[in-house]
Protein backbone atom coordinates (compact mmCIF):
# COMPACT_ATOMS: atom_id res chain seq x y z
CA UNK A 1 0.00 0.00 0.00
CA UNK A 2 2.75 2.44 0.95
CA UNK A 3 4.72 1.38 -2.07
CA UNK A 4 1.68 1.92 -4.23
CA UNK A 5 1.10 5.41 -2.81
CA UNK A 6 4.72 6.31 -3.27
CA UNK A 7 4.63 5.23 -6.90
CA UNK A 8 1.37 7.07 -7.48
CA UNK A 9 3.06 10.24 -6.29
CA UNK A 10 5.98 9.52 -8.59
CA UNK A 11 3.64 9.01 -11.51
CA UNK A 12 1.89 12.27 -10.77
CA UNK A 13 5.06 14.33 -10.59
CA UNK A 14 6.63 12.70 -13.66
CA UNK A 15 3.36 13.27 -15.49
CA UNK A 16 3.33 16.87 -14.34
CA UNK A 17 6.79 17.46 -15.71
CA UNK A 18 5.89 15.93 -19.08
CA UNK A 19 2.68 17.94 -19.18
CA UNK A 20 4.65 21.12 -18.62
CA UNK A 21 7.03 20.19 -21.42
CA UNK A 22 4.31 19.11 -23.85
CA UNK A 23 2.36 22.28 -23.19
CA UNK A 24 5.38 24.32 -24.23
CA UNK A 25 5.54 22.48 -27.56
CA UNK A 26 1.79 22.46 -28.09
CA UNK A 27 1.23 26.16 -27.60
CA UNK A 28 3.68 27.07 -30.36
CA UNK A 29 2.45 24.28 -32.62
CA UNK A 30 -1.18 25.26 -32.19
CA UNK A 31 -0.53 28.85 -33.16
CA UNK A 32 1.96 28.49 -35.98
CA UNK A 33 2.08 24.84 -36.94
CA UNK A 34 5.73 24.53 -35.94
CA UNK A 35 7.10 21.54 -34.06
CA UNK A 36 9.73 23.44 -32.17
CA UNK A 37 12.48 20.94 -31.52
CA UNK A 38 14.58 23.81 -30.21
CA UNK A 39 12.30 23.81 -27.15
CA UNK A 40 14.86 21.54 -25.48
CA UNK A 41 17.54 24.14 -26.00
CA UNK A 42 15.34 26.81 -24.43
CA UNK A 43 15.42 24.55 -21.37
CA UNK A 44 19.19 24.19 -21.71
CA UNK A 45 19.66 27.96 -21.80
CA UNK A 46 17.46 28.36 -18.73
CA UNK A 47 19.49 25.62 -17.07
CA UNK A 48 22.89 27.10 -17.83
CA UNK A 49 21.70 30.51 -16.66
CA UNK A 50 20.66 28.98 -13.34
CA UNK A 51 23.98 27.15 -13.17
CA UNK A 52 25.89 30.39 -13.74
CA UNK A 53 23.81 32.22 -11.17
CA UNK A 54 24.27 29.54 -8.53
CA UNK A 55 28.01 29.58 -9.14
CA UNK A 56 28.56 33.32 -9.30
CA UNK A 57 25.78 34.74 -7.16
CA UNK A 58 25.58 31.87 -4.69
CA UNK A 59 24.73 33.69 -1.47
CA UNK A 60 21.67 35.24 -3.10
CA UNK A 61 18.33 33.64 -2.32
CA UNK A 62 17.17 30.99 -4.80
CA UNK A 63 13.81 32.73 -5.01
CA UNK A 64 15.64 35.59 -6.68
CA UNK A 65 17.90 33.45 -8.86
CA UNK A 66 15.35 31.00 -10.23
CA UNK A 67 13.10 33.66 -11.77
CA UNK A 68 16.15 35.09 -13.54
CA UNK A 69 16.77 31.65 -15.04
CA UNK A 70 13.15 31.51 -16.17
CA UNK A 71 13.47 34.95 -17.72
CA UNK A 72 16.56 33.75 -19.61
CA UNK A 73 14.51 30.92 -21.10
CA UNK A 74 11.77 33.36 -22.07
CA UNK A 75 14.32 35.68 -23.69
CA UNK A 76 15.83 32.72 -25.57
CA UNK A 77 12.43 31.60 -26.80
CA UNK A 78 11.52 35.09 -28.01
CA UNK A 79 14.91 35.46 -29.68
CA UNK A 80 14.54 32.14 -31.52
CA UNK A 81 11.18 33.33 -32.82
CA UNK A 82 12.44 36.72 -33.94
CA UNK A 83 15.71 35.60 -35.47
CA UNK A 84 15.06 32.08 -36.74
CA UNK A 85 11.35 31.30 -37.07
CA UNK A 86 9.81 34.57 -38.21
CA UNK A 87 11.68 34.64 -41.54
CA UNK A 88 10.38 31.15 -42.40
CA UNK A 89 6.87 31.57 -41.00
CA UNK A 90 5.19 31.35 -44.38
CA UNK A 91 7.49 28.66 -45.71
CA UNK A 92 6.41 25.00 -45.87
CA UNK A 93 6.22 23.20 -42.50
CA UNK A 94 9.37 21.20 -43.24
CA UNK A 95 11.40 24.42 -43.45
CA UNK A 96 10.27 25.39 -39.96
CA UNK A 97 11.13 21.96 -38.65
CA UNK A 98 14.62 22.06 -40.17
CA UNK A 99 15.11 25.57 -38.80
CA UNK A 100 14.24 24.25 -35.33
CA UNK A 101 16.84 21.49 -35.68
CA UNK A 102 19.32 24.13 -36.87
CA UNK A 103 18.72 26.30 -33.83
CA UNK A 104 19.01 23.25 -31.63
CA UNK A 105 22.38 22.23 -33.11
CA UNK A 106 23.79 25.74 -32.86
CA UNK A 107 22.84 26.14 -29.20
CA UNK A 108 24.15 22.69 -28.22
CA UNK A 109 27.47 23.39 -29.89
CA UNK A 110 27.65 26.82 -28.36
CA UNK A 111 27.63 25.26 -24.92
CA UNK A 112 30.02 22.50 -25.99
CA UNK A 113 32.47 25.12 -27.23
CA UNK A 114 32.08 27.81 -24.62
CA UNK A 115 31.46 25.75 -21.49
CA UNK A 116 32.21 22.03 -21.77
CA UNK A 117 30.77 18.80 -23.11
CA UNK A 118 30.84 17.24 -19.67
CA UNK A 119 28.03 17.88 -17.22
CA UNK A 120 28.47 20.70 -14.74
CA UNK A 121 27.15 20.15 -11.27
CA UNK A 122 24.54 22.61 -10.12
CA UNK A 123 24.32 23.10 -6.38
CA UNK A 124 20.56 22.93 -6.10
CA UNK A 125 19.11 24.34 -2.93
CA UNK A 126 18.53 21.70 -0.26
CA UNK A 127 14.91 22.58 0.23
CA UNK A 128 14.13 21.24 -3.24
CA UNK A 129 15.22 17.75 -2.28
CA UNK A 130 13.89 17.60 1.23
CA UNK A 131 11.68 14.63 2.04
CA UNK A 132 8.44 15.52 3.71
CA UNK A 133 7.03 12.63 5.73
CA UNK A 134 3.40 12.19 4.86
CA UNK A 135 1.91 9.43 6.98
CA UNK A 136 3.31 6.13 5.75
CA UNK A 137 4.98 7.67 2.69
CA UNK A 138 7.38 10.51 2.19
CA UNK A 139 7.30 13.02 -0.57
CA UNK A 140 9.99 15.23 -1.98
CA UNK A 141 9.48 19.00 -1.96
CA UNK A 142 10.45 18.82 -5.61
CA UNK A 143 7.55 16.53 -6.40
CA UNK A 144 5.08 18.69 -4.56
CA UNK A 145 6.37 21.78 -6.30
CA UNK A 146 6.26 20.07 -9.66
CA UNK A 147 2.62 19.14 -9.28
CA UNK A 148 1.66 22.51 -7.82
CA UNK A 149 3.54 24.46 -10.48
CA UNK A 150 2.12 22.37 -13.32
CA UNK A 151 -1.42 22.83 -12.14
CA UNK A 152 -0.78 26.48 -11.33
CA UNK A 153 0.70 27.10 -14.76
CA UNK A 154 -2.19 25.29 -16.35
CA UNK A 155 -4.81 27.29 -14.47
CA UNK A 156 -3.09 30.59 -15.24
CA UNK A 157 -2.67 29.57 -18.88
CA UNK A 158 -6.32 28.63 -19.18
CA UNK A 159 -7.33 31.93 -17.57
CA UNK A 160 -5.19 33.80 -20.09
CA UNK A 161 -6.50 31.77 -23.02
CA UNK A 162 -10.12 32.24 -21.98
CA UNK A 163 -10.11 35.64 -20.40
CA UNK A 164 -7.82 37.90 -22.41
CA UNK A 165 -8.18 39.12 -25.96
CA UNK A 166 -4.64 37.96 -26.71
CA UNK A 167 -5.49 34.52 -25.33
CA UNK A 168 -8.64 34.33 -27.41
CA UNK A 169 -6.60 35.36 -30.46
CA UNK A 170 -4.16 32.53 -29.81
CA UNK A 171 -6.96 30.00 -29.60
CA UNK A 172 -8.55 31.38 -32.74
CA UNK A 173 -5.20 31.50 -34.56
CA UNK A 174 -4.72 27.82 -33.83
CA UNK A 175 -7.53 27.13 -36.28
CA UNK A 176 -7.53 30.04 -38.67
CA UNK A 177 -4.68 32.51 -38.53
CA UNK A 178 -5.78 34.55 -41.54
CA UNK A 179 -9.17 35.34 -40.09
CA UNK A 180 -7.51 36.45 -36.86
CA UNK A 181 -5.45 38.89 -38.91
CA UNK A 182 -8.66 40.12 -40.55
CA UNK A 183 -9.78 41.16 -37.07
CA UNK A 184 -6.82 43.57 -37.07
CA UNK A 185 -4.94 41.46 -34.53
CA UNK A 186 -1.23 41.51 -35.25
CA UNK A 187 0.11 38.11 -36.25
CA UNK A 188 3.56 38.91 -34.84
CA UNK A 189 2.05 39.67 -31.46
CA UNK A 190 0.11 36.42 -31.32
CA UNK A 191 3.12 34.33 -32.35
CA UNK A 192 5.42 36.16 -29.93
CA UNK A 193 2.93 35.55 -27.14
CA UNK A 194 2.99 31.83 -27.90
CA UNK A 195 6.80 31.78 -27.75
CA UNK A 196 6.71 33.83 -24.55
CA UNK A 197 4.48 31.28 -22.85
CA UNK A 198 6.50 28.43 -24.30
CA UNK A 199 9.70 29.97 -22.92
CA UNK A 200 8.11 30.46 -19.52
CA UNK A 201 7.09 26.80 -19.39
CA UNK A 202 10.57 25.75 -20.53
CA UNK A 203 12.10 27.85 -17.75
CA UNK A 204 9.89 26.23 -15.13
CA UNK A 205 10.68 22.80 -16.51
CA UNK A 206 14.40 23.62 -16.41
CA UNK A 207 14.23 24.11 -12.64
CA UNK A 208 12.71 20.68 -12.11
CA UNK A 209 15.01 18.94 -14.56
CA UNK A 210 18.09 20.43 -12.92
CA UNK A 211 16.83 19.65 -9.45
CA UNK A 212 16.43 16.00 -10.46
CA UNK A 213 19.74 15.63 -12.27
CA UNK A 214 21.79 18.03 -10.18
CA UNK A 215 23.71 19.07 -13.27
CA UNK A 216 23.56 20.74 -16.64
CA UNK A 217 25.09 19.61 -19.93
CA UNK A 218 24.74 20.78 -23.53
CA UNK A 219 22.48 17.86 -24.48
CA UNK A 220 20.17 18.02 -21.50
CA UNK A 221 17.29 19.31 -23.64
CA UNK A 222 17.03 16.29 -25.89
CA UNK A 223 15.23 13.78 -23.69
CA UNK A 224 12.75 16.36 -22.35
CA UNK A 225 11.79 17.54 -25.82
CA UNK A 226 11.43 13.94 -26.97
CA UNK A 227 9.11 13.17 -24.06
CA UNK A 228 7.22 16.37 -24.72
CA UNK A 229 6.80 15.40 -28.35
CA UNK A 230 5.52 11.94 -27.48
CA UNK A 231 3.18 13.36 -24.83
CA UNK A 232 1.83 15.93 -27.27
CA UNK A 233 1.29 13.25 -29.92
CA UNK A 234 -0.56 11.04 -27.43
CA UNK A 235 -2.80 13.92 -26.43
CA UNK A 236 -3.39 15.10 -29.97
CA UNK A 237 -0.86 17.50 -31.40
CA UNK A 238 -1.82 21.14 -31.10
CA UNK A 239 -4.47 20.60 -28.46
CA UNK A 240 -3.52 22.20 -25.17
CA UNK A 241 -5.70 20.08 -22.90
CA UNK A 242 -4.45 17.15 -24.98
CA UNK A 243 -0.85 18.04 -24.19
CA UNK A 244 -1.56 17.98 -20.47
CA UNK A 245 -3.46 14.72 -20.64
CA UNK A 246 -0.77 13.22 -22.88
CA UNK A 247 1.89 14.28 -20.39
CA UNK A 248 0.14 12.58 -17.52
CA UNK A 249 -0.65 9.47 -19.58
CA UNK A 250 3.00 9.15 -20.55
CA UNK A 251 4.27 9.79 -17.03
CA UNK A 252 1.86 7.37 -15.43
CA UNK A 253 2.52 4.68 -18.05
CA UNK A 254 6.25 4.97 -17.47
CA UNK A 255 5.92 4.57 -13.74
CA UNK A 256 3.48 1.68 -14.13
CA UNK A 257 5.92 -0.21 -16.36
CA UNK A 258 8.74 0.65 -13.97
CA UNK A 259 6.75 -1.04 -11.24
CA UNK A 260 5.34 -4.08 -13.01
CA UNK A 261 8.28 -5.06 -15.19
CA UNK A 262 10.58 -7.71 -13.64
CA UNK A 263 14.11 -6.44 -12.98
CA UNK A 264 15.55 -8.45 -15.85
CA UNK A 265 13.67 -6.55 -18.51
CA UNK A 266 13.18 -3.25 -16.67
CA UNK A 267 15.75 -1.74 -19.02
CA UNK A 268 13.25 -2.16 -21.83
CA UNK A 269 10.73 0.07 -20.12
CA UNK A 270 10.69 2.67 -22.87
CA UNK A 271 10.18 -0.04 -25.49
CA UNK A 272 7.04 -1.16 -23.66
CA UNK A 273 5.86 2.42 -23.22
CA UNK A 274 6.34 3.26 -26.88
CA UNK A 275 4.67 0.04 -28.02
CA UNK A 276 1.66 1.06 -26.03
CA UNK A 277 1.81 4.56 -27.51
CA UNK A 278 2.03 3.03 -30.97
CA UNK A 279 -1.03 0.89 -30.32
CA UNK A 280 -2.94 3.90 -29.04
CA UNK A 281 -2.10 5.83 -32.18
CA UNK A 282 -3.18 2.99 -34.45
CA UNK A 283 -6.57 3.01 -32.75
CA UNK A 284 -6.78 6.77 -32.51
CA UNK A 285 -4.39 8.44 -34.96
CA UNK A 286 -5.47 11.95 -33.97
CA UNK A 287 -4.49 11.36 -30.34
CA UNK A 288 -6.71 11.34 -27.28
CA UNK A 289 -7.93 14.88 -27.54
CA UNK A 290 -7.15 15.71 -31.15
CA UNK A 291 -9.65 16.43 -33.84
CA UNK A 292 -9.43 14.91 -37.26
CA UNK A 293 -7.94 17.29 -39.75
CA UNK A 294 -10.15 18.40 -42.54
CA UNK A 295 -8.09 18.55 -45.64
CA UNK A 296 -8.72 20.77 -48.61
CA UNK A 297 -10.69 23.95 -48.86
CA UNK A 298 -12.33 25.90 -51.56
CA UNK A 299 -10.69 29.06 -52.80
CA UNK A 300 -12.27 31.73 -54.94
Amino acid sequence: MEYFLQQALNALSTGGEYALLALGLAIVFSVMGLVNFAHGETITIGGYTMYALFIFAAPTNAWVLLPIGILAAVAASLTFERVAFRPVRNAPATTGLLTAFGVSIIIKNFFVTVVATRPKAVPTPDWLNTQIPLGPVSIQTLQVLEAVVTFGALIILLAVLRGTTLGLSMRAAAKDFNTVRLMGIRANQVVAAAFFISGLLAGLAAIFIIARRGSVDPFMGFIPVLKAFVAAVIGGFGSLPGAVIGGFVLGITEVVFQVILPDKIAGYRDAFVFTLVGMLLIMRPQGIYGQKLELGEKGG
Partner: protein, 249 residues
Protein backbone atom coordinates in the same frame (compact mmCIF):
# COMPACT_ATOMS: atom_id res chain seq x y z
CA UNK B 1 -13.68 55.60 -50.70
CA UNK B 2 -12.10 52.48 -52.19
CA UNK B 3 -10.25 52.65 -55.48
CA UNK B 4 -8.87 49.55 -57.13
CA UNK B 5 -6.64 50.49 -60.01
CA UNK B 6 -5.74 47.84 -62.63
CA UNK B 7 -4.96 45.23 -60.00
CA UNK B 8 -3.62 41.79 -60.95
CA UNK B 9 -3.52 38.90 -58.49
CA UNK B 10 -2.26 35.34 -58.75
CA UNK B 11 -3.99 32.38 -57.18
CA UNK B 12 -1.25 29.80 -56.90
CA UNK B 13 0.40 29.74 -60.31
CA UNK B 14 -2.70 31.05 -62.08
CA UNK B 15 -3.41 34.69 -62.84
CA UNK B 16 -6.78 34.88 -61.11
CA UNK B 17 -7.39 38.60 -61.43
CA UNK B 18 -6.19 40.50 -64.50
CA UNK B 19 -5.93 44.29 -64.37
CA UNK B 20 -9.23 44.91 -62.69
CA UNK B 21 -10.25 48.45 -61.77
CA UNK B 22 -13.24 49.41 -59.68
CA UNK B 23 -14.33 52.02 -57.19
CA UNK B 24 -16.71 52.13 -54.29
CA UNK B 25 -17.98 55.55 -53.20
CA UNK B 26 -18.91 56.39 -49.65
CA UNK B 27 -22.38 55.16 -48.71
CA UNK B 28 -22.73 52.92 -51.76
CA UNK B 29 -23.60 49.27 -52.02
CA UNK B 30 -21.55 47.81 -54.83
CA UNK B 31 -22.00 44.23 -56.00
CA UNK B 32 -19.15 42.19 -57.42
CA UNK B 33 -20.70 39.50 -59.59
CA UNK B 34 -19.55 36.64 -61.72
CA UNK B 35 -19.59 32.89 -61.98
CA UNK B 36 -17.71 30.53 -59.72
CA UNK B 37 -13.97 30.88 -60.26
CA UNK B 38 -14.20 34.35 -61.78
CA UNK B 39 -11.69 35.71 -59.26
CA UNK B 40 -14.13 37.61 -57.04
CA UNK B 41 -12.98 36.16 -53.73
CA UNK B 42 -9.35 36.40 -54.77
CA UNK B 43 -9.81 40.09 -55.46
CA UNK B 44 -11.43 40.61 -52.04
CA UNK B 45 -8.61 38.73 -50.34
CA UNK B 46 -6.11 40.89 -52.21
CA UNK B 47 -7.82 44.13 -51.17
CA UNK B 48 -7.83 42.85 -47.57
CA UNK B 49 -4.10 42.18 -47.80
CA UNK B 50 -4.28 38.40 -47.44
CA UNK B 51 -3.08 37.68 -50.98
CA UNK B 52 -0.23 39.67 -52.54
CA UNK B 53 -1.08 42.05 -55.37
CA UNK B 54 1.16 41.46 -58.37
CA UNK B 55 0.59 44.83 -59.99
CA UNK B 56 -1.73 47.81 -59.67
CA UNK B 57 -2.80 49.90 -56.71
CA UNK B 58 -5.48 49.90 -54.06
CA UNK B 59 -6.26 53.09 -52.17
CA UNK B 60 -8.62 53.69 -49.29
CA UNK B 61 -9.47 57.36 -49.09
CA UNK B 62 -6.06 59.01 -49.37
CA UNK B 63 -4.11 56.00 -48.12
CA UNK B 64 -2.47 53.49 -50.40
CA UNK B 65 -3.07 50.03 -48.97
CA UNK B 66 -1.65 47.93 -51.82
CA UNK B 67 1.11 46.26 -49.80
CA UNK B 68 -0.17 46.75 -46.28
CA UNK B 69 -0.73 43.83 -43.93
CA UNK B 70 -4.27 42.57 -43.29
CA UNK B 71 -3.92 43.85 -39.70
CA UNK B 72 -3.20 47.39 -40.83
CA UNK B 73 -5.91 47.39 -43.50
CA UNK B 74 -8.47 46.35 -40.89
CA UNK B 75 -7.20 49.04 -38.57
CA UNK B 76 -7.74 51.57 -41.38
CA UNK B 77 -11.43 50.69 -41.39
CA UNK B 78 -11.90 47.84 -43.86
CA UNK B 79 -13.61 44.73 -42.57
CA UNK B 80 -14.16 41.46 -44.40
CA UNK B 81 -16.76 38.82 -43.76
CA UNK B 82 -14.92 36.03 -45.49
CA UNK B 83 -16.37 33.41 -47.76
CA UNK B 84 -17.50 30.40 -45.77
CA UNK B 85 -18.04 32.72 -42.76
CA UNK B 86 -14.94 31.49 -40.96
CA UNK B 87 -16.25 31.97 -37.45
CA UNK B 88 -13.85 30.78 -34.77
CA UNK B 89 -15.27 27.31 -34.22
CA UNK B 90 -13.99 26.55 -30.74
CA UNK B 91 -14.76 29.98 -29.35
CA UNK B 92 -18.17 30.97 -28.07
CA UNK B 93 -20.37 33.45 -29.87
CA UNK B 94 -19.43 36.06 -27.29
CA UNK B 95 -15.71 35.39 -27.72
CA UNK B 96 -16.03 35.67 -31.49
CA UNK B 97 -17.67 39.07 -31.10
CA UNK B 98 -15.04 40.14 -28.63
CA UNK B 99 -12.27 39.33 -31.11
CA UNK B 100 -14.15 41.34 -33.71
CA UNK B 101 -13.64 44.37 -31.48
CA UNK B 102 -10.05 43.46 -30.55
CA UNK B 103 -8.56 46.61 -32.08
CA UNK B 104 -10.89 49.00 -30.29
CA UNK B 105 -9.92 50.79 -27.11
CA UNK B 106 -13.27 52.43 -26.32
CA UNK B 107 -14.73 49.90 -23.90
CA UNK B 108 -18.03 51.74 -23.53
CA UNK B 109 -18.45 51.99 -27.28
CA UNK B 110 -17.76 48.28 -27.67
CA UNK B 111 -20.32 47.40 -25.00
CA UNK B 112 -22.87 49.65 -26.67
CA UNK B 113 -22.25 48.13 -30.12
CA UNK B 114 -22.40 44.63 -28.69
CA UNK B 115 -25.80 45.35 -27.17
CA UNK B 116 -26.95 46.80 -30.46
CA UNK B 117 -25.91 43.81 -32.56
CA UNK B 118 -27.37 41.36 -30.06
CA UNK B 119 -30.58 43.31 -30.53
CA UNK B 120 -30.22 43.10 -34.30
CA UNK B 121 -29.37 39.37 -34.25
CA UNK B 122 -31.43 37.91 -31.39
CA UNK B 123 -30.15 34.40 -32.07
CA UNK B 124 -26.65 35.53 -31.10
CA UNK B 125 -27.90 36.61 -27.71
CA UNK B 126 -29.61 33.25 -27.27
CA UNK B 127 -26.45 31.36 -28.18
CA UNK B 128 -24.03 33.82 -26.62
CA UNK B 129 -22.15 31.29 -24.47
CA UNK B 130 -22.19 28.35 -26.86
CA UNK B 131 -19.35 27.34 -29.14
CA UNK B 132 -19.70 28.82 -32.62
CA UNK B 133 -19.43 25.45 -34.36
CA UNK B 134 -22.79 24.42 -32.91
CA UNK B 135 -24.53 27.21 -34.82
CA UNK B 136 -26.38 26.57 -38.09
CA UNK B 137 -25.05 28.02 -41.33
CA UNK B 138 -27.39 30.97 -41.20
CA UNK B 139 -26.57 31.69 -37.57
CA UNK B 140 -22.87 31.50 -38.34
CA UNK B 141 -23.34 33.99 -41.17
CA UNK B 142 -25.05 36.38 -38.79
CA UNK B 143 -22.24 35.90 -36.30
CA UNK B 144 -19.62 36.51 -38.99
CA UNK B 145 -21.29 39.74 -40.06
CA UNK B 146 -21.78 40.93 -36.48
CA UNK B 147 -18.13 40.11 -35.77
CA UNK B 148 -17.05 42.22 -38.76
CA UNK B 149 -19.23 45.09 -37.58
CA UNK B 150 -17.73 45.02 -34.09
CA UNK B 151 -14.56 46.66 -35.43
CA UNK B 152 -16.70 49.62 -36.57
CA UNK B 153 -15.53 49.51 -40.17
CA UNK B 154 -16.05 52.23 -42.74
CA UNK B 155 -16.10 49.69 -45.54
CA UNK B 156 -17.50 46.19 -45.16
CA UNK B 157 -16.70 43.58 -47.76
CA UNK B 158 -19.11 40.65 -47.68
CA UNK B 159 -17.84 37.61 -49.53
CA UNK B 160 -20.69 35.35 -50.70
CA UNK B 161 -22.98 36.00 -47.74
CA UNK B 162 -25.77 33.89 -49.27
CA UNK B 163 -23.67 30.79 -49.93
CA UNK B 164 -25.38 27.67 -48.62
CA UNK B 165 -28.25 29.52 -46.96
CA UNK B 166 -31.97 28.81 -47.28
CA UNK B 167 -33.89 31.33 -49.42
CA UNK B 168 -35.62 33.11 -46.52
CA UNK B 169 -32.28 33.53 -44.80
CA UNK B 170 -30.78 34.95 -47.96
CA UNK B 171 -33.58 37.53 -48.04
CA UNK B 172 -32.91 38.32 -44.41
CA UNK B 173 -29.18 38.82 -44.96
CA UNK B 174 -29.77 41.04 -47.97
CA UNK B 175 -32.33 43.11 -46.08
CA UNK B 176 -29.67 43.56 -43.43
CA UNK B 177 -27.25 44.90 -46.03
CA UNK B 178 -29.76 47.68 -46.79
CA UNK B 179 -30.12 48.47 -43.08
CA UNK B 180 -26.36 48.70 -42.68
CA UNK B 181 -26.08 51.14 -45.57
CA UNK B 182 -28.78 53.31 -44.03
CA UNK B 183 -26.56 53.54 -40.96
CA UNK B 184 -23.75 54.98 -43.04
CA UNK B 185 -21.76 51.88 -43.89
CA UNK B 186 -20.23 51.39 -47.33
CA UNK B 187 -20.49 47.86 -48.71
CA UNK B 188 -18.81 45.78 -51.35
CA UNK B 189 -20.73 42.53 -51.73
CA UNK B 190 -19.49 39.50 -53.66
CA UNK B 191 -22.29 37.34 -55.02
CA UNK B 192 -22.93 34.54 -57.40
CA UNK B 193 -26.61 35.09 -56.82
CA UNK B 194 -26.77 37.96 -59.32
CA UNK B 195 -30.48 38.75 -59.44
CA UNK B 196 -30.72 38.93 -55.68
CA UNK B 197 -27.61 41.07 -55.43
CA UNK B 198 -28.80 43.47 -58.10
CA UNK B 199 -32.04 43.97 -56.20
CA UNK B 200 -30.30 45.72 -53.33
CA UNK B 201 -27.12 47.20 -54.79
CA UNK B 202 -26.53 50.58 -56.40
CA UNK B 203 -23.90 49.54 -58.87
CA UNK B 204 -22.29 46.31 -59.95
CA UNK B 205 -19.14 44.98 -61.54
CA UNK B 206 -19.10 41.69 -63.39
CA UNK B 207 -15.95 39.60 -63.36
CA UNK B 208 -15.35 36.66 -65.64
CA UNK B 209 -12.19 34.55 -65.76
CA UNK B 210 -10.34 37.23 -63.85
CA UNK B 211 -11.27 40.15 -66.08
CA UNK B 212 -13.76 42.92 -65.69
CA UNK B 213 -16.53 42.22 -68.19
CA UNK B 214 -19.05 44.85 -67.34
CA UNK B 215 -19.80 47.59 -64.93
CA UNK B 216 -22.84 49.78 -64.51
CA UNK B 217 -25.72 50.64 -62.31
CA UNK B 218 -27.74 47.80 -60.89
CA UNK B 219 -30.78 49.04 -62.82
CA UNK B 220 -28.93 48.79 -66.13
CA UNK B 221 -27.76 45.30 -65.35
CA UNK B 222 -31.19 44.14 -64.26
CA UNK B 223 -32.71 45.22 -67.55
CA UNK B 224 -30.11 43.55 -69.65
CA UNK B 225 -31.33 39.97 -69.61
CA UNK B 226 -28.89 38.86 -72.21
CA UNK B 227 -25.99 40.27 -70.25
CA UNK B 228 -27.01 38.56 -67.05
CA UNK B 229 -27.51 35.25 -68.76
CA UNK B 230 -24.31 35.50 -70.66
CA UNK B 231 -21.96 36.62 -67.93
CA UNK B 232 -23.58 35.50 -64.75
CA UNK B 233 -24.45 32.00 -65.83
CA UNK B 234 -27.94 32.25 -64.40
CA UNK B 235 -29.85 29.07 -65.01
CA UNK B 236 -26.86 26.90 -64.25
CA UNK B 237 -27.13 27.37 -60.51
CA UNK B 238 -29.20 25.28 -58.10
CA UNK B 239 -33.02 25.50 -58.45
CA UNK B 240 -33.25 27.83 -55.49
CA UNK B 241 -31.42 30.49 -57.41
CA UNK B 242 -33.49 30.13 -60.57
CA UNK B 243 -36.68 30.49 -58.60
CA UNK B 244 -35.55 33.58 -56.86
CA UNK B 245 -34.32 34.91 -60.19
CA UNK B 246 -37.81 34.55 -61.63
CA UNK B 247 -39.31 36.31 -58.68
CA UNK B 248 -37.16 39.38 -59.18
CA UNK B 249 -38.45 42.02 -61.59
Amino acid sequence: MLVVDSVSVNYGAIRAVQEVSLRVEEGEIVALLGPNGAGKSTLISAIAGLVPIVSGHVTLGDTEITRQTPEDITRLGVSVTPEGRRVFDDLTVGENLRLGAAIRKDKNGVAKDLEEYLEMFPVLRERYDTAAHTLSGGEQQQLAIARSLMSRPKLLMLDEPSLGLAPQLVQQIFALVGTLRDRGLTLLVVEQNAHQALAFSDRAYVLNTGRLQYSGTAAELRESDQLTEHYLGIGTGPPMRTESANGTP
